[in-house]
Symmetry: C2
Subunit: 443 residues, 2 copies
């Protein structure tokens, strides 16, 4: 616990309250202990996007605050980096700067702060904002760190060999498509492509995807990168992580089944990926650190993937939810249906291990790179992170409370992913919402 | 042939000569019929990188020329886009602009041009230049379009199943790493990573790669992109291709064999990739168009991958060579050894088909994206595009003329890829050189 406590500081005091009233409402999710970063502008405006921080149901314009130069030193340098339309500059500065800025923001937004008068005009209602991607994403890597997902999906693709021999040793990952990543609210046409021939040796099918799925993931934004050729050691790996968001790795299962061998998924994934707009820093998540879980019989990670800190507190207790609304449910003004709930703590590898693995061969990460965790299914029923798992490989439809059922996503379905950290005696820390909608295919 | 001739215009007249004398030397490779685009600055300077065009052994500074605004219309707009440190702006303008600029450059650099006096001060010796990546590469995709390579490598990884059933239908591709792509002259440490356990169920190996290889590829730079959700039809696909370069997709075979299932290569590839500095436009390559080859019994491509133009002239006759120099050969001042020769015309898919396939699901390409062809092995012995093929899966070393032999690359080995188009009665069109050197691993 000593290791774990070392991450905590005055910004984590559960008694802190903000002069922004909505931040103090229980379970608001954006209390003064959170302070996630994003990029926004007033909706339906032609104004420039600018970095901001969420507080309650409002968002503070950091670009405007930066022009007032309220702070010297590292906090001031970090704030100055927020005078751009993306967070890459702030991300590249590293954890001392992030922490210094977070501390000043915490003090400025606390009840009784003398800065209240200066800051109030810089607040926007979140409901009136349009969000952009928090960073220019140079490269996007998607991992596969849920043993439960890998086993469940592996069983469908390779019934006799669900979990491959490398899984428990290698944090399996592959490169994804950066250009098609969008922020919550993304709408995209159902992808079109080739599917497996009806009979062996026959002509493949071609048309709109019939097995369109979501994947419940978290995204890890890289802060400071590493020079090409120099690895990041596991002991310092977390200092290269700026923060976490929610990620939906939309997947066309029928395209994937036909195209994925031998080089992995391609068109099955690269038509769209959606992330939540707010990036929650590792510092904000520190009270929810937890021990890195392994089951009896699982191998000890190789030394480059192992450290006492990682074992003691490298995982995070982040609750995850998948909800679905359909054209019919929205017409009837019904609440979205909860499809499943999971938790990031079930993952087989930690964020630090992903960074160490990604760079062990000298691959250079850059500020703003995005690492997806892979689908975060849990061990139990009701914790499936994709329809492919919920429907048991297309065998059993998912019943929706308003009478519809789904094997896979239909046109106009909206998938809503949520993530939040909760524990007694501490304000709820939300990662916000990642929503996206399927439009009809364009033929 | 009517289709093919439609690509040709006055810039292709084989009788054209330049007032830059070296451009007229037979087999120089950068005659006035070529005019490839790149980005450079004087070596060992702190000057800004700027776009330029190669002519003979010199390079014309297009940023400086742009300041003089010599041309109105599309050529002028294209030239104005060259006032940046990358070619993305020019690439995004599209083929009418590229063609207009090329025509004006061809006229300005021809013998007798009244612009000679104005242009001479803007020429640099190529030997004194440092090159940068021609474009900011937003996303890098690597394909696998040599049937011969896929079969040869497939035989080693899956002896009973070398060519998977999807190969002749799907242009197989996967996403690669953009951040680690460098330009010719790139040096990188030997990658380190996990390798397959010595015995089944045992602990994996960990250490420097022992099976480091090159892959002989071409790179395709995307020009104008497409909006997300809208596909690019095969009939117009080539208008989205700015040009071609040479690409070495360095590969760590032992890392790859252990990590690649089920999601494809990752650390085995993403430590470094090297490209040549000059991008040769499709217009410059037009005289070397050739019919798209299929063998009897190969299926007709699906309609979205098929067009009369693609069948008649969608392939290119581009000769390719792999050469190797070693620490020992350089010390003895010996010429690099030729390891193999191949040709782009042996590929199973064309550039147009790759663009159409990549976007059929709505994936958005962007100006400056790079598509690798995959290893361009030919059908015959001596046409292998990688050491893995030359050494028959590690069984037979490659003998070098100075007495060394190689299964895989050793530290300080330099791999030199060359590409050029030749035919009687037409000047040789070179794609230049793509060289890279392996440094010792950093442990």
């Amino acid at each position: 616990m000593q290791t774990r406590m070392a991450y905590l500081n005055e910004t984590h005091d559960p008694a802190l309250q903000s002069w922004v009233d909505s931040a103090n409402i229980p379970d608001n999710g954006f209390p003064i202990q959170n302070l996630p970063f994003g990029v926004f502008r007033p909706a339906a405006s032609a104004q420039a996007f600018r970095p901001g921080v969420a507080i309650g149901d409002r968002a503070l314009d950091l670009a405007a605050l930066a022009r007032a130069r309220p702070w010297p030193g590292a906090a001031g340098e970090a704030l100055a980096a927020c005078q751009a339309d993306r967070l890459n500059g702030l991300m590249a500065l590293g954890p001392d700067h992030w922490s210094a800025l977070r501390l000043q923001l915490s003090r400025a937004l606390r009840g009784g702060s003398p800065m209240r008068q200066a800051l109030e005009p810089l607040l926007h209602d979140q409901a009136g904002l349009e969000f952009a991607l928090p960073a220019h994403i140079g490269d996007y890597t998607d991992f596969y760190i849920s043993l439960h997902h890998a086993t469940a999906v592996g069983r469908q693709f390779r019934p006799d060999n669900p979990l491959l021999p490398n899984y428990k040793w290698v944090p399996i990952g592959y490169h994804g498509r950066a250009s098609s990543i969008g922020v919550t609210g993304q709408k995209f046409p159902r992808p079109v492509g080739q599917t497996r021939p009806a009979s062996e040796g026959g002509e493949p099918g071609f048309g709109p995807c019939e097995r369109l799925d979501y994947e419940l993931e978290l995204g890890i934004f890289v802060g400071q990168g590493n020079p090409q050729g120099e690895r990041i050691a596991i002991t310092g790996a977390e200092s290269h992580v700026f923060g976490l968001c929610i990620l939906n790795d939309w997947s066309a299962r029928d395209l994937q089944a036909w195209e994925y061998q031998p080089l992995g998924p391609f068109l099955a994934k690269n038509f769209a990926s959606t992330i939540s707009p707010w990036v929650v820093t590792l510092e904000a998540l520190a009270p929810f650190r937890t021990a890195f879980q392994r089951n009896a019989g699982d191998p000890q990670p190789l030394p480059y993937l192992d450290s006492p800190d990682n074992q003691a507190a490298g995982a995070f207790d982040i609750g995850l939810e998948v909800l679905l609304s359909t054209q019919r449910s929205r017409a009837a003004k019904l609440e979205p249906a909860l499809l499943s709930s999971s938790n990031f703590r079930h993952a087989y590898w930690t964020a630090a291990q992903l960074v160490a693995h990604h760079t062990v061969n000298g691959c250079n990460l850059q500020a703003g790179d995005l690492l997806g965790t892979g689908t975060l299914s849990g061990p139990d029923q009701g914790q499936e992170g994709s329809l492919l798992e919920l429907n048991q490989g297309g065998k059993k439809p998912v019943a929706l409370p308003w009478g519809e059922e789904r094997f896979f996503l239909q046109d106009h379905d909206e998938v809503i992913l949520r993530a939040r950290c909760s524990k007694p005696g501490y304000p709820t820390i939300s990662l916000g919402v990642c929503a996206g909608t399927v439009l009809p295919a364009r033929l």
